[in-house]
């Protein structure tokens, strides 16, 4: 059986404008425009990145700080639009980038479940059905009617994780999220993600813990200054990564 291509990233480049002074008021903009002083300090966070993932592939993205790992995940999840190149996605994405980013601090836990669910594109009916499941998984029953501003960061992450992993996604994007909550919840969330792995979910995973990447992934790419310098089997790439970090 030919494997289905799920993620296809072709020649992706992402350009940022890193001007020293960010011109964000009209007066300055016009003055600089007239004086021709508008400086565009270009910086390519990603350059000519190519890879293809089939269904069930688990890709670890390695690299030092600032290599472009998180930018790559944001481009794949659609938050950032690539300056050049193409990203083709077949399937439903669950981005676990920063959990609970869509929360409103004045809203209670209950209201936030619906708000965050809506942000992720779920319907009201679906959330009504899954509400008890969320409560149970997040273990926040006692605090569900308390405004989220009174939550601890661990509690917020637990609630976010419980909502974001409601559906069985085809593609799971993980950015250092397996380190949320206390040890007990971490075990639970890892078990949940593992169960998704068993169902053949495609994974893009960023972590600084090489041990974790090796445990979870079967493929890897190594980024340096926005370019892929090595890709392939996890063991080969991690060898190169280890040499780089020496």
């Amino acid at each position: 059986m030919a494997k289905k291509e799920v993620v296809k990233v072709e020649h992706v480049g992402m350009k940022f404008n890193l001007s020293q002074e960010k011109v964000d008021n009209l007066k300055e903009y016009i003055i600089k425009l007239i004086k021709r002083e508008l400086s565009f300090n270009e910086f390519w966070a990603l350059k000519d990145v190519n890879f293809t993932l089939n269904k069930g592939d688990r890709l670890g993205i390695l690299g030092l700080n600032g290599a472009g790992k998180s930018t790559l995940l944001k481009v794949v999840s659609g938050v950032l639009k690539a300056t050049e190149g193409n990203v083709t996605i077949n399937g439903k994405i669950a981005p676990l980038l920063e959990l609970g980013a869509g929360f409103d601090s004045q809203y209670t836990g209950r209201e936030n479940i619906y708000l965050y669910g809506a942000v992720l594109g779920f319907s009201k009916k679906f959330l009504d059905e899954k509400f008890d499941e969320i409560l149970e998984f997040s273990e926040l029953k006692k605090f569900i009617d308390v405004p989220v501003k009174n939550y601890s960061s661990g509690m917020k992450a637990r609630l976010g994780f419980s909502v974001a992993t409601l559906v069985e996604p085809d593609i799971l994007i993980l950015d250092e999220v397996l380190s949320v909550g206390d040890a007990k919840f971490r075990k639970k969330s890892e078990a949940k993600i593992m169960s998704m792995f068993d169902k053949g979910v495609t994974v893009l995973f960023v972590s600084h813990s090489l041990e974790q990447v090796q445990r979870l992934c079967d493929k890897a790419i190594l980024l340096e200054n926005g370019r892929i310098i090595s890709s392939g089997d996890i063991d080969e790439v991690s060898k190169i990564y280890l040499e780089k970090t020496k």
Binding site: V79, P95, A101, G102, A118, G121
Partner: protein, 258 residues
């Protein structure tokens, strides 16, 4: 086009949630809650009626209705455009993390203000009864005016939303512009004297005044002014078209600036 509609259906619930959130949070922790939507226009109308009716000696017995119509429409326009302008920045946390069609944010803030405005129309009904301004067949003109008002506020709102991402000082500029619009909308003065002077163009070029005038026509039982109505329609369609065009052209850059 089909994908746009499918996408809209998918995020319809988010739109409803954001509108609900606006309404809920606006009055959270206030004792009178949503009642403020009614109390506030009543109080400002009383003040304006005393100042511009009694002190400046306006003989019209229905003057409070006149003020209220102008004030309600203007304050919707002002809060909706302000809300839409800031919507991208206030929701930057979400925009940076999850993909959501971005027009949802300005649209939800215009919608939320429109609902608050619709509730406050109850005050107008009360005032009409008290001051014996009874509806005629022309009252249905109100629907056309309100639809155009919504479109105008949305169009202006998304233009402001797009620009405000790149230029923060637009917020201050717009508050000055709103003040000019307020004084040029004939909220608390009668227009006759101005219309006969050389400054009539100030009113006629003000899209908010065109709408307020036709709204009053409908409330007071007169037919809509067709010239003004055409002006309103053209303005609403143009501003929404231009707004959507710019918004779609620039929306991928938002995230780099917020």
């Amino acid at each position: 086009m089909k994908t746009y509609i499918a996408n809209f259906r998918k995020y319809r619930f988010l739109l409803i949630e954001l509108v609900k959130k606006g309404i809920k949070l606006k009055y959270r922790r206030s004792y009178l809650g949503i009642l403020w939507t009614l109390i506030e226009p009543i109080m400002t109308t009383i003040v304006l009626s005393i100042v511009f009716g009694t002190l400046f000696g306006n003989p019209d017995p229905t003057f409070p209705v006149y003020i209220l119509t102008g004030r309600l429409l203007y304050s919707f326009f002002s809060s909706a455009t302000n809300g839409a302008m800031k919507s991208i920045r206030t929701n930057s946390g979400m925009i940076k993390k999850v993909y959501v069609p971005k027009y949802i944010y300005p649209l939800s803030s215009v919608l939320f203000n429109f609902i608050i405005f619709a509730i406050s129309l109850i005050v107008l009904i009360g005032a009409c009864i008290i001051f014996k301004v009874y509806p005629t067949i022309y009252i249905f003109g109100v629907i056309i005016v309100l639809a155009l008002l919504f479109l105008t506020a949305f169009g202006v709102g998304i233009i402001l939303a797009t620009m405000a991402v790149f230029f923060r000082d637009l917020e201050y500029l717009w508050s000055v512009a709103l003040m000019i619009i307020m004084y040029a909308s004939a909220i608390f003065y009668k227009v006759e004297r101005l219309m006969n002077s050389g400054y009539a163009f100030i009113l006629k070029l003000n899209p908010v005044y065109l709408l307020i005038h036709n709204f009053r026509q409908a409330i007071y039982g007169h037919p809509l002014n067709m010239h003004y109505l055409c002006g309103s329609i053209v303005f609403a369609i143009c501003v929404t078209g231009v707004g959507l065009f710019f918004f779609y052209k620039k929306q991928d850059d938002f995230i780099l600036y917020i």
